[in-house]
Subunit: 273 residues, 2 copies
């Protein structure tokens, strides 16, 4: 059973009703964040909070709760869910608008959800992604705009793929809901433009520091031809190997040892979180 | 008092609660439409329905109701509102998603709203708009994505303006929620790319046919320098003169006779609707 906090009240999530003048619903004016607990504790809470605060500032929405109050709500919800580790979703919108366009007061929703783990076979075999000529509008803000990937769902499935890899004019940015890395020899390269700055991305960059030369810079599509390995990172995907991009096989088409090594380091970190 | 239809049930609109797994709310996966009644009858119903159906098809959402059933719902809601002419808003989203991303069954909301007429002074003096280097993603679909104009609200107000005029690489598309026309001599020119094909736009193009050479084509920013008049069209704005675009005064900075003429023709049409 999951509970949600909505504008000051905590009730079972399936009893929450968002009114029909909400600007998230009517105008797509909303942002969110999403993270997991490990051993009952929110993973990288400081970093998630900082990002959520920055997203809200970018959309000029004042936060109704401070960091500590929000943490207390999170822990209350985690306790009520009473089912081991959970996902937390924050959704903040422009609030109810009498004229359907003007912001009066944001709506803030915080709720726990089941974690939807990646099927183990995807870690064993790696995933395929479809290239898509696209760059997200305001990618750095964790806005609720995910039209593109939902619209392309059948195209992704038809290709036997799991996701889109966005590129524009030959420059790679990110997958639809996760970041992108390539491994070339001892170098670990990840794009730094037109992306959402993922918390798992940041975690992996830190964990990799000791063993890799980490390069955060524009990454060209042409660099995929030389890459030994590629993977994507997100809170649920952790470190998920990518073995094919469009028609191009990455490296030898198998999950690579360096992706596996970084996934192991990530698992070590969360085991003791 | 306004009523709304939500997935088969009609209740007062303020009693409708949209659940927290709705893909419009969580992922911005939604479309809408909006029109007015005149003399109790929906204006240009056939055209609005056609557009709504096309938007739904573009987002690959199956319509739960046919045209006649929808019309019956509309007239039921108009009757319940019992307050003369009203606005109708249709909102359709990707529906409730157990995994926060996959479409199962769309949610359809239809409701009446108060009409928010443009203040008369704006028709007398015309409005100013701020130029914005932007083009809407999937502009032809009436999606719920209006982040841009809400985000720029304070910039628009600071400039003493009413709206944004989108242009990209010197080509004009539309205002944030309405179409754009210029008058040059006897020519009436309106962009035909990266726009939502407005029903009021279409109505005005028909009404203008007898007296103007109507050109539907790419319109360059540079053409504003020679324009005699400019105006915008939408269901609520009807024909609203634009007298200034950024720092550029259009024509003599007054509401022009041809804009006024077309507004009069539009008012003739709706008076007898």
């Amino acid at each position: 059973m999951h509970y949600g906090y909505f504008n000051g009240t905590i009730v079972p999530s399936d009893q929450i009703g968002v009114g029909v003048t909400d600007l998230g619903l009517l105008r797509g004016y909303g942002l969110f964040d999403y993270f997991l607990t490990y051993n009952g504790r929110p993973f990288q809470w400081d970093w998630y909070w900082e990002r959520f605060r920055n997203s809200a500032a970018s959309l000029r929405l004042p936060l109704p709760l401070g960091k500590d109050e929000t943490y207390a709500v999170v822990m209350d919800l985690v306790g009520r869910a009473d089912q081991g580790d959970v996902a937390l979703r924050f959704v903040m919108t422009g609030g109810y608008a009498p004229d359907s366009i003007s912001i009066v007061k944001p709506n803030l929703l915080i709720m726990t959800e089941d974690i939807h783990p990646v099927p183990p076979v995807q870690y064993e075999q790696g995933i395929r992604v479809v290239l898509d000529e696209y760059v997200r509008d305001m990618a750095e803000v964790k806005s609720t705009d995910y039209k593109r990937v939902i619209l392309k769902d059948s195209e992704i499935r038809a290709a036997g793929a799991s996701d889109l890899l966005y590129q524009k004019d030959g420059e790679i940015s990110e997958l639809s809901r996760s970041n992108f890395f390539v491994v070339s020899g001892n170098r670990l390269i990840t794009p730094n433009q037109h992306i959402l700055r993922g918390i798992t991305r940041r975690t992996i960059m830190e964990l990799a520091q000791a063993d890799f030369e980490v390069e955060e810079r524009p990454l060209l599509l042409s660099e995929l031809y030389d890459a030994d390995e590629a993977f994507t990172t997100s809170s649920t995907k952790q470190v998920l190997p990518i073995v094919q991009v469009g028609d191009l096989t990455i490296g030898n088409g198998q999950v690579g040892p360096k992706s596996q090594y970084l996934l192991d380091r990530f698992n070590d970190l969360i085991a003791n979180w």
